[in-house]
Symmetry: C2
Subunit: 502 residues, 2 copies
């Protein structure tokens, strides 16, 4: 028999312990991608897996189950923060207690190894090198979906991991509406006689100078460099440890100056969210963002709604120009703005424009749904990928490196993750609509470099809450309504109509 009081205290201790060990695990994950020497990574994956298994065991332990049972019957006695901690741990518990420990350990070792193999496969354009790992990951994810359980589509079980409550049934109409608008708009753009001066990017931009510019820009847009790091990886990502230690990465390409700039702004959007969560939530499950979709809304908002606005470049362009006199000396800020907003179907998702980006996501979404439903098998993915790319974007990659091997997600088992990106875009457009109303000087603030005011608004409305409020409640609280694709549709139509004189 445990009493309610001791159950609450013990639950809090256990929540803290899991959060602390998860912080350590996050650090290991970051280190192995960013810092670890080549020969040590396979060896380290065993230590990583041991830690992950320990965390997993704690999250689904009998003690956790007992505390949750006891505490969920006493909700009325607890404050909101306590109830949110219970809610978040219960989501994990109910899901993961269905997975046998052995299976999870196997999965953990597999994905840790698969990540390194994927990197090699991508570097060597060798899908078959990655295939056996991918096959095993998909097989396990299908097993997980069955174990988690779902109402109508097995993929729902995986979606729910990243966006609680999300289903194929909800997603299909949102994506259908967005696809319709996007494809129509894309056609109108492709038929427009207005062209953007994209050729300014067909030049060499010194990596050293790119680094300097990114390091100059990052603190101005709101990322606290004393509470974070900026490093380099093939695939940029953001990883928080705590509010005082948020690590982001970018990649510098000599022949693509946009890659690092917008990659950095994107990851800074994630990072600023993590740096500004209520410090009282340190050491609790609430110290994470509330969902992958909401997290992505913050990175996409900063990257696109802010970073691809004309006002952003009215502020930053003179400095960028001074770093790259030779390349940009003759280009006006207006032309630069048009050039960075060029719409053109391309192969690489992370470098896609705002319009075609969502079509990239839909390709992955359709493939993942099919894989989990057992309609496709991994071996056929290069063919299926290329077919879908032609269907959605009208282009076919020349090789798997530019195609099916481009993304890290499957290598770490992240099936169900991709839709978060487009959800993030939808959330971001809806949040933009609200901030434009509540802060009429929004674009003026960007133009005068007052990113602190925008960060403060986002922190007070979104960041501070961490996981206290669920994504569904949060978007209603901030914008006054549920997620609605029309804001994104309007945003895209307005923006590109001006740029392409439609």
């Amino acid at each position: 028999m445990i009493t309610t009081k001791s159950a609450l205290e013990q639950f809090k201790e256990l929540d803290e312990k899991i959060t602390h060990l998860s912080t350590v695990s996050a650090l290991v994950g970051w280190d192995q991608k960013v810092m670890a020497p080549k020969k040590g990574r396979m060896l380290f994956s065993k230590a990583y897996s041991t830690l992950e298994t320990e965390i997993f065991k704690l999250m689904i332990s009998k003690e956790m189950g007992d505390y949750l049972t006891e505490l969920t019957t006493n909700k009325d006695n607890f404050d909101d923060v306590t109830n949110a901690r219970i809610r978040e741990r219960k989501i994990f518990y109910d899901k993961f207690k269905t997975i046998p420990t052995d299976l999870y350990q196997e999965y953990s070792t597999l994905t840790s190894e698969a990540n390194h193999i994927w990197e090699e496969a991508r570097a060597n354009n060798d899908f078959n090198h990655f295939l056996p790992y991918l096959e095993r990951i998909i097989e396990m994810k299908r097993k997980f979906a069955e174990l988690y359980g779902y109402k109508s589509h097995p993929y729902d079980a995986l979606l729910d991991e990243f966006e609680p409550g999300l289903t194929v049934e909800k997603l299909d109409p949102l994506f259908a509406e967005l696809r319709k608008v996007s494809v129509e708009l894309l056609k109108r753009i492709q038929h427009s006689s207005t062209k953007t001066p994209e050729e300014i990017f067909e030049k060499t931009y010194s990596v050293e100078k790119q680094k300097e510019f990114n390091k100059y820009m990052l603190p101005i847009i709101g990322f606290d460099m004393e509470a974070g790091r900026l490093d380099e990886t093939i695939h940029p990502f953001a990883q928080p440890m705590n509010t005082g230690d948020v690590r982001i990465t970018t990649r510098y390409l000599e022949h693509n100056v946009r890659s690092a700039i917008f990659g950095t702004i994107h990851e800074a959007g994630h990072g600023i969210y993590d740096q500004n969560i209520n410090k009282d939530f340190e050491g609790t499950v609430l110290r994470n963002g509330t969902s992958f979709g909401i997290h992505e809304s913050q990175s996409r908002f900063l990257e696109n709604m802010v970073g691809r606005s004309k006002e952003f470049w009215k502020y930053f362009y003179p400095t960028l120009q001074s770093y790259f006199t030779e390349q940009l000396g003759e280009t006006t800020v207006d032309d630069f703005y048009k050039a960075i907003n060029t719409v053109k179907p391309t192969f690489i998702r992370v470098e896609a424009d705002e319009l075609t980006y969502n079509l990239h996501i839909m390709v992955r979404y359709e493939i993942e749904k099919g894989l989990i439903a057992g309609e496709f098998i991994a071996k056929d993915l290069p063919t299926i990928w290329n077919k879908k790319m032609e269907e959605y974007l009208g282009i076919i990659p020349k090789n798997d490196r530019e195609g099916v091997l481009q993304d890290v997600h499957w290598s770490f088992g992240g099936l169900g993750y991709f839709p978060s990106y487009t959800l993030g875009n939808l959330y971001a457009a809806q949040i933009l609509n609200t901030i434009e109303q509540e802060m009429p000087e929004f674009y003026q603030n960007i133009e005068s470099g007052r990113f602190d005011l925008i960060k403060n608004w986002l922190t007070s409305k979104i960041h501070q809450y961490g996981s206290l409020i669920s994504p569904y409640e949060l978007i209603v609280k901030v914008t006054g309504e549920e997620l609605n694709a029309k804001y994104m549709a309007d945003y895209l139509n307005t923006k590109y109509s001006k740029i392409y004189d439609l």
Copy 2:
């Protein structure tokens, strides 16, 4: 009831789990010193402490105790590797099971925080900032000594943590002999009319070029850069994760080119040991060096016996000269050799010459003995430090930054560690005597850059064994006798007699 067979299997699993979590913990330690942003470190120390506590609990768990009891009665049935794993875990168990979990957790949090505080105190030359932490650390260490137990001196209990079996009784005569020889030799050197051209180091050496030279030198002397990293910290150190991931650090000073060079060679000596332990020991307690003294012997051997030899610089000096034409263009290799072997009492241990280095250690040894015996209190340390420095080296530091605050060790609770450095020197000189006999072309190999041959000898005689063989057995196995201070005495006398024409 557990059967022997299942006890053995379960013991091995537990040993592996502890080793894996310790690897993760080592990574956290490295990261927080080398990579972590300022604002996150205090927050991360709680997560670190949670992990350390988990490891500690496993090392002294009832299960571990049961397995050890069962297995130590069945030694004859197991191979040497299994028995060594049992022996090493038993050493930890017998020692640490005496410490209550709460006390260890408090200690772990304290030392993690104290490390950051020490860095601040050292940077600001502010002993009082560090004092309250130091007081608590000493208090706890005294408590630990009582809990561990000891025969004659409480400091024995702490020495034993770093060099199993070492006592004040054994150490005092070794140190007395060495002190006598060192002080006499120092006087003769100070009275010699021969002076070394140390003024060549009173110049500015570009940090960028120093970095280039160190990165050039490191793989040649045997450190595998694909199985390790070289980074920068205030206090250089080496940290192995596994044989494929060994991380070392150095520090670059514009006005002291020797600091980085010999710091790098020193840490490379540690790193090469860790990179060449038998790969079959991965995931077991045997994958560490057998003692701090033996580990230090490998770093001191490479730094001094190899790195401060004339032959070493016959090989490397032309390259160094080409990096620093302005500073070294007029200096011959013979003069450079003499300059790097200048003997002169100075304040900073890590930059001391081979002769006075051990006197620095003796100062710390005497202080630690006194602190643990309760003869000194922490508040008086700056005064005591300066008095001892005058007594042993004839000089008094101008401030605490150059005095009592210079070393990291006390901040992480490493009382009992310092004697390992001089033990390392004694082991190294004794090993040098053996290698000179077994490899008559030893110096010729250095001169021709065949560091691989020297590394192979050390690997076959020492590195490969990890903790399979105890330090006492190892030195007898390699050199044919117990540790003997006369080899160091002879080495110092021979070397400096030539340099200073004594």
